[in-house]
Symmetry: C2
């Protein structure tokens, strides 16, 4: 009867984040700096009094913390606060002038580079053709990374980090373990890129493109609770929420799945506000889902973008292009013209996509499913059939909403850049420059 239960040892960094760690005064200050940054990221420009009122920190502490952040050029004083909490006063805002972050998305035939400043404003968005043959792909990625870093530095900003977004399996050392879409295996991508960018403190990482696109969707949602523009924003109160609902825009959700069809078929999963990482980061490979007798088709066979294009466009030549974008646009044109073949192919794809989404939803219970890239382009025709299947296969009532991403084909690059702002906002502040 006396059976001894003991707790597992803490083994790695990710796990220990879930476990209590010893805290001291230095940690308290780092935590509270992060609280202030996150408050401004979420709510827009606010007075010190409003920050104190919203966060529960006392005013003297807020003054001290914001003084440090201003010294570090992460915050700046701006005009008067539009914040409704407390009396109007000098407002503080995130300072975009000193730091920036870069994301580079790698697809089978092109690269996308995107940079944002620390305030989240987009600084550049470049597309470049890429050839995977001849072993020049890594050199092309390095050249683009260097050019983007140089441009950002010419604007007087320090680069916090560069993240490369790739389809397939990427390990924590930044090696692409297996990418069927790119034809790569065991390719060290982080090392050569990091080696080519000589700046102390610049962090280079590599991650899965769907996971980063999901992060971008997750972070971008809160945009929708604010008026757009660069000036001091009104605090997102009930009024702002109503406007947002009236515009048919999305409410923030902590449990979100993004489905990408641009490079094979992958999903990025955010659960409880965090990316689903798994043991090695090898998550989201939904294209491989299969059930039934030996040789049964996979989800990528049943609901992939390339099989859809082959079926909807009888004269489509798969040898002629690796980027499906133009073909997907052509399918949309046919569907708009009520072409029977295109509509049937879209219905069938939507139905199988819905089965795949039901598997995701039965397992992870998201509140929102976002169709990314090519699926977003075709969402108008895919979603009705997908919704029927999702509801039919889901045990739970009230299935997750299926929505189309508004981030276009560079969501992975955006998520890649934003990941570095996230890092600062959770307490990993850059050293002063």
């Amino acid at each position: 009867m006396a059976e001894k239960i003991r707790w597992r040892a803490e083994l790695d960094v990710r796990t220990t984040q879930a476990e209590p760690q010893p805290a001291g005064f230095t940690d308290v200050r780092a935590t509270n700096l992060a609280v202030v940054l996150r408050h401004l990221r979420t709510n827009g420009p606010s007075s010190r009094a409003a920050i104190a009122a919203s966060t529960g920190l006392n005013k003297a502490t807020v003054s001290s913390l914001t003084g440090d952040l201003i010294d570090q050029r992460l915050l700046r004083e701006t005009g008067s606060s539009g914040n409704r909490i407390g009396r109007p006063g000098t407002a503080l805002a995130l300072d975009g002038s000193a730091y920036a972050a870069i994301g580079i998305q790698v697809a089978a035939d092109h690269l996308t580079a995107l940079a944002v400043d620390f305030a989240g404003d987009q600084l550049l968005l470049w597309h470049r053709a890429l050839s995977l043959s001849g072993g020049r792909a890594v050199a092309a990625i390095i050249a683009l990374a260097q050019r983007a870093a140089t441009r950002v530095r010419q604007q007087g900003r320090t680069v916090l980090g560069i993240t490369l977004a790739v389809p397939g399996l990427v390990d924590e050392q930044g090696t692409v373990r297996l990418s069927p879409a790119l034809g790569w295996s065991d390719l060290d991508l982080r090392g050569p890129v990091a080696g080519s960018l000589r700046q102390p403190g610049l962090v280079v990482t590599v991650a899965n493109q769907a996971a980063l696109a999901a992060l971008a969707c997750f972070r971008r949602q809160s945009n929708l609770t604010h008026a757009p523009g660069d000036g001091p924003a009104a605090n997102g109160g009930p009024g702002a929420r109503s406007d947002q609902a009236a515009n048919g825009r999305l409410a923030p959700e902590g449990d979100l799945i993004l489905v990408s069809g641009a490079a094979g078929m992958e999903a990025g999963v955010i659960t409880g506000g965090r990316p689903l990482h798994g043991a090695r980061g090898f998550t989201g490979q939904i294209g491989r889902f299969a059930l039934g007798p030996a040789g049964s088709p996979t989800l990528a066979d049943l609901a992939g973008v390339e099989p859809l294009v082959r079926r909807a466009l009888p004269d489509f030549d798969p040898q002629s292009l690796t980027d499906l974008g133009p073909a997907v646009e052509q399918v949309a044109v046919l569907a708009r013209a009520a072409d029977a073949g295109a509509l049937a192919a879209l219905r069938d794809t939507g139905r199988h996509l819905g089965q795949g989404l039901a598997i995701l939803a039965n397992l992870t219970d998201p509140s929102m499913i976002v169709l990314g890239d090519h699926y977003a382009t075709l969402a108008e025709w895919l979603v009705p059939a997908a919704e029927v299947e999702l509801a039919a296969h889901l045990l739970a009532p009230a299935p997750a909403r299926i929505v189309a991403s508004e981030l276009g084909s560079h969501a992975g690059a955006l998520g890649a850049a934003l990941s570095h702002l996230d890092r600062v906002d959770t307490g990993s502040l850059p050293t002063a420059v």
Copy 2:
């Protein structure tokens, strides 16, 4: 170009756990109390010096913290420390004498009650028959909960909490939203049980049985890094690990999936050391997975325990019992006797189970997959076929190990009880009695 990115607002308790929160001195103390408890839970009895050395807290702080915990009867001084760090001295151990927690697992035809003391020692394990007909099920659950609480109190312990483990969808208010296995929908289970147990501070919760079983597997793993028994344990150093490996026992894993076949087909997912919760807690419904033409069989049809039993035992009468346990034992007897029909049914079930596990692994990248309850009984015959399918369908190299649970049919009840110790260990200390 100037695109404003802002961060999502913090909306709910689960999400804010992932976001920075203001910290103060009270939080520091609560965090450090939790660090000490978790250290002893993981490592067994340790001296104050060893706790300080391992956690990085200074010795004076450890003395103060452990003094508080001894006053609260959560720790006790024991014999000399077997700890290898620091000189031998008075060892501290978790004190099981003052507090206990109860788990009650609800199945279609029986109840299981299990209690553990605060040190993790099992205090009681009871099975009771249950009839779901006639509306007396909730009364039977209440009666069992009261009897278990009374027994624990007679031993001089305060009950920290009671958790009910049920198959199906349970919401955060403790209402069973939908349980096909029990035939329940929108049944408030928490309210009546909490109302019948009048003790201030006693927490009553209801949760999914597979999720709780996964928690039990996750927590029980660390048992395996220690010698069994009640005395002071050696610290789990490299030597202990080798012994463990030599015994073929499991290493602790933060990314674990438990598959349960006892009531429908459900999975409990632990990712990064935390249960996968989703938006509403409606996770793990893997029996509903289906892919292919309309009317395609579900994973529960293909790999469920009841279809297996029907096929392996031609004279099985499904009307005669709701508990599949005896039939599953009979299948194991036939398989041991090399019965061709039973072996073919097991191979086929194992193959389809492997497809289901590949879906789980492609999406979540676990390092360990645990077969629970009936699947554990039949693991010897299911695992070989399942491993082949898992490797064939998984994109990633080196698939997760598939292992059989050693926790028997009451893993849900054990996880239910352990969840309350978890709560204390993460800083929610009981008020002194």
